[in-house]
Every structure is written in C-alpha cells, then in structure tokens.
Amino acid sequence: MSQRSFVWFCLLPLAVVTTAFFLLPMARLVVAGAEGPHGLAGYLAILTEGRYRATLINTVLLAAATTVVTLIVATIAGMFLQRHRFPGRAVLIAMLTFPLAFPGVVVGFMIILLAGRQGLIGDLSNRIFGEKLVFAYSIYGLFLGYLYFSIPRVILTIMAAVQKLDVGLEEAARSLGASPWAVQRDVVLPALAPAFVASGAIAFATAMGAFGTAFTLATNIDVLPMLIYTEFTLAANFATSAALSVGLGLITWLILALARTFSGSAVAAAG
C-alpha cells in the first residue's frame, strides 16, 4: 500500500463514523425543522411567536449575565492566584478548578444543597433573620448554577493569560507615574482582552445550551434548552423542537466562531 492510500485509509473510520452519526443526522434535523405545518417559516417562529421569543430573550439575558459576572469574578481571583505565591495556593487552585468535570445535573444538585428547601443558605437565613431563603428553583438558582460551572473554566484561561503578560510594561507605566488603578485599566486589562473574548464566548455558549442544570432545578424556568425538551417530549412537536435546536446550535456556533476569529485561538464549549 502506498503512503498516499495509507493516509486515506487512516482517515476512513473517522469519516464513516462522523458522516453516519453526525453529518447525516444534522442534515435530517435541518430538514425536520421545515417539515412542520408552516414549512420553512417554522424557522422564523423562534422570532415571531411571542412565547418562543420571550424564552430566547430570557436565555440570552441569563447567559450574558453569567458571562459578565463570571469574567469579573474569575479575573479578580485568577489575577490574584497568578501574581502571588503563598502557602496553600496550590490547594486553592485545585479547589477552584475541580468542578470542571461535574455534569450539569450534579451542578444542579450542588445548587439545591446551597439554596434549596434543605439548603445551607436557607438554614443560615432562618437562624439570622428568622426567614428561610429558598431560591434554587428560580432563575436565580439557575444563574448561580451557571456561575458554578463557568467560573472554573474561565479562571484557568485568565490565569494562563496573566502568566503571559509582560510585567515590564506595568513597571514602565508605574515608573511614568501611573496610579495602580490606571495601570490596571490602561495596561493590564487591554492585554487580557483576547482571553476575555475567548473564555467569555465559552461561558456564554455553554450557558445558552446547558440542559442538565436547568433540568435538575427547573420546576418552571423558561430557557431555550428546556423549551426544546418539553416541545419534543411532552408536546411531541418534532418540527418546532428541531427548528429551535437548529437555531440554538447556530447561535452557539456563531458566537464561538466569532470569538475564535477575534482571539485567534481554539475555542470550544462543553456541558
């Protein structure tokens, strides 16, 4: 066998698996989205129909809030951990990154333990204020859950970016009389911008598509993945759920692709 045909042969198993179980089904999904009573217009329902549009806006706002808060929290913590050496630092980093591998359902359960009916926050607020604070099953609980799984991912990216910063630039700025705040604002934060875009895009896309956490917490939270799920299983509305999931996939893919062209590094979402 020649080298050339051997290389093709090596590619064959992957090509078969990907075509049969990814490309073909995705094409089927796109077609199914247009097989409803409204045909191709079914794809516009996500924008034209009030209930779907409200859910879409809800999901985008929640994902945006998650992204902004995660970036702020992760930048403060990540900068601190990368710039200082102190006893217990390695343990702290391990604590901040170990939830990386938690599936969405487990994250949901963590939030129930924090803010659920038997949760820690309710217990503490009951002792201090005499009132039990329970918010795990609302949109705030979901928000907390999304923070829980995006903070570890983003912290790792920020720490790697801080490590690559040129400390000389900050020293130069300081020696020219810039205040510490001005150094952060004009030197450090702009240099971190690509890391913000890359990790922010991951956090946003993950929060848009996350299903496990919402599934565990949701009694009545309107986010896109839950809507797709209920349309498919409860309403057996295959065309609508297909159209909605194509729309959702397109949004998350587009955000990650944009972030990649901007920051120039590979970006992927999971969860």
Binding site: L96, V105, T216, A268
Partner: protein
Amino acid sequence: MRDRLIFTGQFIFTLFVAAFLVVPAGLSISAGVTVNYFRGIQSGVTLQWVAQVWELYAGTILLSFVIAFATLAVTLLAGVPAAYALHARGGRLARIVEEIITLPLAIPGLAIALALLLTYGSFGDFRRSWLFILVGHVIFTMPFMVRSVMAVFATVDIKTLDEGAASLGASPWRRFCDVIVPNALPGILAGALMVVTLSLGEFNLTWMLHTPLTKTLPIGLADSYASMRLEVASAYTLIFFVMIIPLLVAMQLLADRDNKR
C-alpha cells in the same frame, strides 16, 4: 499598607469563590454518610445510603463504565489514525475535517441527540440498545482524542521520524505501529483520560438517548435528585465523585509532567 489591604481583599474574595464551589460538594459528601441530614451529622454516620444506592443503581454504574470504555475503544481506533492522517496530509482538507469533527463541541448536546433520534429513532433494536448512547458519546468525545493527539504531532517532528523509517524500508502500517503510536503516547493518554471522564459524566445527550433499560450513572443521578431522599441522592453523588476524582488527578499530573518537560 495599601498593597497589604488590596492583597487581603483579593485573598478573602478568592477564598469566598473557592468556598462557593467546594462547600456544596462537601455538604453532599457529608449528607451521603449522615443518618439524618435534617438533624445533622450528630445523628450519626452510616453507609446505609451508599448501600441502598448500590442496591438500586448498581446497573447504571456498570453500564456507565461499559459505555465509557467502549467510547474509548472507538475514539482510539478511529481517532488516532485520523489524527495522523490529518497531520500527514495537512492543507485545506485537513482543516475542514478538523472543523467538522469539532462542531459537536459548539452545538448543544440536546440538538445532536434530537438529530440522532430523528434519524435512527425508528431502528427499534438499535434505538433500544446501549449502542445508541455509545454513538452519541463517540461523536461528543471524538474531537478531544483527535486534537489531543494532533497537539503532540505538532511538537514532535513526526515527519522526519516517519520519513526516516520509510527510507529504511518500513511499510506504512509498520511505521504507524512502531513510530507514530509510541511517539503519540502522551497525547493518546491525555485524550483517553478526557474521553473516559466526559463519557462517565455525560448527561445532555444521554438523557434524550436513554431508555428505561439503558440508564447510565448521570441519568440515575437525575432520577435520584427528583425522587429520592436527600441522603440517597448525596450518597449517589459521593459514588460519582469517588469515580471521577482519580481521573481528574491523573489528568492534572499528566499536564504537570508535560509542563516541566
């Protein structure tokens, strides 16, 4: 003085964030071995909940391992040769293929699961077997294996080694087994750990693809969160932690070793 203040402030903030992540996991571990969580740990320590989980859900744990290792086998057999082919061929086609197999990371699992259901849902025997879940896991984890192996090829001068062996008369197959695979081993190992970890914890796809007879661990977890008492759900989560933490530690050790080199 001012620096000291900023340091302390940042330190406390970071501790607070770490507590947010670790305290619920700690609560879950302690609840899993507490006689009565509502009355607290002073009600006694017990393994009865763990035993009950084992009785109820042992099948899900077993199936999760079967699927994780089957996923690993498929990603190794299809992913490692493909990574070599993509590296050796290079150019536009390789970039497009890499782009396509990475797509499942950018598309929510729910959408991929729906696509699989719409396409293969009517193939009854396939739909009802665990192979249906395996297919989803393979699609979802494949990019991690391929990219992890390709990352190694980018640092080792595989082309020179390959050509050297070829000039000595080794056949392509022989070179693949004796030159390519041994050199790719660190990447294969990292990819394998990632694939197994992700497969064990996968929920989004699996929830749509499973049947009452093909429940994996995360499916069982969701089930216990919805219908079991808190202690049982916690004990089940504890078992999951025990399974997943060695994998995470191994991954970290591997990454540290690579950094030192």
